[in-house]
Structures are given as structure tokens and as C-alpha cells.
Symmetry: C2
Subunit: 309 residues, 2 copies
């Protein structure tokens, strides 16, 4: 039968396609190698950025010339003015609150920020991406460097993302490059009374028999950016509750974004130059929907007036 013969041939093509997916996996491994090679080439520039931000290096005049159009110049100065208006200090070193400002400027990150996180993130001095060594399982580590501060004793907080670049046996065609498979945080050694990821609440308890009331103090989790370093653990059986799954999905997106966008282009998120483009898509969609709603309301009012005449 012709159809069956053709189906056999299509199956043969699908088997070839599985082979392609495995070659593609190797391709992405080599791209990862390239990324490691280029990470080393970017590093001197990122180190200089870090020195300028911290104030340990003052750039010379020729390094500071910027031939930009007026509009851009305005964006820069506006961004700086806004950051500065609350501050009175004369000639602070470097670029104070550089990374905190980046965090505030990016929706994905500012959504995680709580007010109590801000004084801590003022001490964040650099974020680096470290790739796994050649031959090791694919992964990358985000390294957050802090200056000595009153909140915790760590000077380095880390978050490691494990990647996988191979097609899933049961669904090889869904493979489309490396995926984040899991992540691990690090322990934060909080100074006594400074742990913003916990809060104490007071609860009244009534004694069942005697009817007397006592107040107990309970320590419960508190919203904070620093929960980023204590992601939900995936249990042995790999099954997660819905909440943890949502937290991890958001976590992977944030980890990827910090690696792919924030670290390579931090200054553009500080000035806002990188943000406009990213938000354009959202605005347009929103506007369209608004127009629809507006149209229907006008229509409604029109009908209403017509009927009431």
C-alpha cells in the first residue's frame, strides 16, 4: 500500500532528524566553548568597569570623551540626577549605587527587590559570570561581589545554574539549544538581627483547657531579593509543588537574563539605554488591547445613547 510505504520513508526522515538533533547538541557545546574563550577576552574590560564603579580607578580624559547626540547625553544626566537628588555627599568615589540602580531599572529584577534589600545592594560592587571548565558538565555561576558591610560577612554570594545540551530521549525534536536544568545558591552568613529573608511575627495562642492566652514569637520567611540564593530544592523524585515550580521558572529566567544581558551590558541598564527597546514590545501589545477596550466602550456608550433617545 502506497501510504504505508510513504509512512516508512517519513519515519526514516524522522530518524535522520534525531541524528541532526544530536549533532546540534554538539554544536551548542562548541558554542559554549567559544563563550568561555570570549569571556576571557571581555574580562579585562569588565574588570576596568568594576574599578571605575568602585572608584579604585579614575578614568583619564580621553577615556571619557563621548560623542553622543544630545538626547542620549540627556538620558545619562537624567539617570544620574535622579539617582543623586537624595544625596548630599561631596564627590563620592566611583559610581555609587551602580548595581542597585541597574536592579531598579530592570523590571525582572526590581520585581524581586524589597525596600529592606536596597541598603544591602548598595554594597554590591560587581557581578561576574563564571563558566564551567572544558570537559565538565555545562554550567555557569553568577558571582555577586560585596564590599564589607554590616549585613553579612560574605564578600561573595554565588548562584550556579546547571545546563543540559542534549536532546531528551523521549522528545528529541523539542531540543533547541542548552537549557537550564537546575540551580544551587549559597549560604549567607547574616550578622545577628540583619537577616532580611526572615521575619518574626507574634501570634496569640489560647490554651484549650484553661482558656488562658499567651503570645508566641514565630520566625517565618520574608520576601527579599536574597531568597534568590536559596532556591527551592528539587526532591529526589523530581516532583515539585506548583509554587516551587513557578519560583524556579522565574528564577531560571532571571539567571539567564543576568548572564545574557545584565552582566555584558550593565552600563546600558544603568543609563536606561538598553531598557527602552526591551519594553517597546510590551507597550505596543498593551496599547493595542487598550484601543480595543476603548473602542468597545465608545460603542457601548453610542448604543446606550441611541437606545435612550
Amino acid at each position: 500500500h502506497a501510504d504505508l510505504k510513504e509512512m516508512r520513508r517519513v519515519n526514516a526522515l524522522k530518524n535522520l532528524q534525531v541524528k541532526c538533533a544530536h549533532i546540534e547538541a554538539k554544536f551548542y557545546e562548541e558554542v559554549h566553548e567559544l563563550e568561555r574563550k570570549y569571556a576571557a577576552m571581555y574580562q579585562p574590560l569588565f574588570d576596568k568597569r568594576s574599578d571605575i564603579v568602585k572608584g579604585s580607578y579614575e578614568p583619564a580624559d580621553d577615556e571619557c570623551e563621548w560623542k553622543a547626540d544630545e538626547e542620549e547625553e540627556l538620558t545619562v544626566s537624567k539617570a544620574i540626577m535622579e539617582e543623586k537628588k537624595d544625596e548630599e555627599k561631596e564627590d563620592p568615589k566611583g559610581i555609587p549605587e551602580f548595581w542597585l540602580t541597574v536592579f531598579k531599572n530592570v523590571d525582572l529584577l526590581s520585581d524581586m527587590l524589597q525596600e529592606h534589600d536596597e541598603p544591602i545592594l548598595k554594597h554590591l560592587q560587581d557581578i561576574k559570570v563564571k563558566f564551567s571548565d572544558a570537559g565538565q558538565p555545562m554550567s555557569f555561576t553568577l558571582e555577586f561581589f560585596f564590599e564589607p558591610n554590616e549585613f553579612f560577612t560574605n564578600t561573595l554570594l554565588t548562584k550556579t545554574y546547571k545546563m543540559r545540551s542534549e536532546p531528551d530521549e523521549s522528545d528529541p525534536f523539542s531540543f533547541d539549544g542548552p537549557e537550564i536544568m537546575g540551580c544551587t545558591g549559597c549560604q549567607i552568613d547574616w550578622t545577628k538581627g540583619k537577616n532580611v529573608t526572615l521575619k518574626t511575627i507574634k501570634k496569640k495562642q489560647k490554651h484549650k483547657g484553661r482558656g488562658t492566652v499567651r503570645t508566641v514569637t514565630k520566625t517565618v520567611p520574608n520576601d527579599s531579593f536574597f531568597n534568590f540564593f536559596a532556591p527551592p530544592e528539587v526532591p529526589e523524585n523530581g516532583e515539585l509543588d506548583e509554587d516551587s515550580e513557578a519560583v524556579l521558572a522565574a528564577d531560571f529566567e532571571i539567571g539567564h537574563f543576568i548572564r545574557e544581558r545584565i552582566v555584558p551590558r550593565a552600563v546600558l541598564y544603568f543609563t536606561g539605554e538598553a531598557i527602552e527597546d526591551d519594553d517597546d514590545d510590551y507597550d505596543e501589545e498593551g496599547e493595542e488591547a487598550d484601543d480595543e477596550v476603548r473602542f468597545f466602550f465608545s460603542f457601548l456608550i453610542y448604543i446606550y445613547i441611541y437606545i435612550c433617545k
Copy 2:
């Protein structure tokens, strides 16, 4: 003044960022090299695919085993049945209309297809991607291989896309990997009377003085997929009219899609397995909009009934 000092430092960071953009450009050039290397590794698999599609190679039983779930098996057979129902031929060679079916299954491509293109595309036997040689300006060529046919004498139609992988001097921060900069098609040697990209129309002309009417025949452009091989030319000054600009924007998207998706995964577009995922996003958006519209109509009817009571 503190703000000015800080602005100087931010400018220094922006100058470092421009250097990063130039390193990134080199990175993408190396990725392009990797793509060329892997293209050679995929080619034997693609050649075998082509042989199976054309019917010049009949796969052995072990090449045709496919351990899929029933649902997938159904998709395959459904796709084939639909393609086949109009055909009566016994045991056709290979997989007839393989590429035409791919074209019909992909919205981006089927939008270009006209009815008169279909008999021609039945003769399309393979599409290959050829990358520019190392050291040459970055580009890729889509090669469309046709079996001998009654429509044109070419057996190969080509479309070349020129790429650029360097930051724009005037806007270095917008750089985000190689971009398609332009494209060139090829001449199609149509058999007399078979050129579907042209049509003749009859027009009545009235003689101004005498008032007599004559019918003239004019040849005008006709919608066809084969206009893909005659893209609008960009004039010396680089300025395009709006129509040509829209045609080119769509053309670049199609060229990129054929290179990135269609050629590497043709069988999945033939069976439809690759299509669901791609369309999911659109469907969801569409559904949401529909729901909104539906909600407003219900609301309208509700108000109408209420007022008319």
C-alpha cells in the same frame, strides 16, 4: 561637581561597552565559522533525506522503525492521508510533494503561495543552505533544486543573503549579532507562456481625437512565490519606497526562517510536529483577544436587554 565627575565615569563605561560590542562581533564571526563546520556534518544526513524524498534511495527496515507514541503516529498518518486523498497513483516514488507540503504547512511561506505556484513547486526536490567561505564577507545562499519541468529550464534557483556582523558606528549599542543587510535573487528562464510572475491584461483605450476604441494588451507583475527570486533592488542612495521596504523586511524574515528552521527540520514541518509549538504563542494571543471581544459583546447584549425591559 560630583554629578559631572560621575557622568565622566559613566562615559568611560560606555566607551568600554563599545569595545565589548566589537568583541561580540568577532564572537559572532566565530559562531558563523562553527556553523560552516557543522553544515558539513549535517550535509550527509540532508543528502540522504533528499535521496529518500526523491525516491532514489529506499530506506531499509531498520531505518524506518519509529518508536513513537500513538498520537504522533496519528499525526504522521493524518498528514500523509490528507496529502494523498486526491491522488490515485499506485506506489509513487519517494515522498511526492514533500517540499510543497512543507510550504503549505508554514504560514510564513503559504502566505506567498498562489494556486499557480503549486504545480511548479511539486518539482522542488531539495533546499540547501550554502555559507560563504571563510575570510569572505558573511553571507548565505538558499539553493532550490528542481527536477526537469515544463515551467523553466533552470534546475537550480538561488537566493543570496548578505550579512553584517559589526556594530553600527552611529549606534554601537544596538548591535545584537549578525543582521541580514541585503539579498539578491537569480534569473528564472521561463518556458514560453509559463511565467507565472507576469500576467497579461487587456485594456480599452479611447483615441482622443477620433473617439475610436482599441484594445491593448499589457504585461503586468503577478503575485507568485517566484517573485522571491526577484527582490526589490536597493538604489545607490540606499533609500527605498515604503512598499519595497515592507517586501524586503518580509523577505529577510522568510530567508532567515528557511535557513534556521525549514532546511534543518524539514520533516517536522512536513508532518506538522514543528508547527504546533511555533503557532502556540499566536493562538494564545488570538484567543485572549477573542475572549475580550466575546466578553464585551455579552456585556453589550446584557445592557441592551436591561435597557429594553
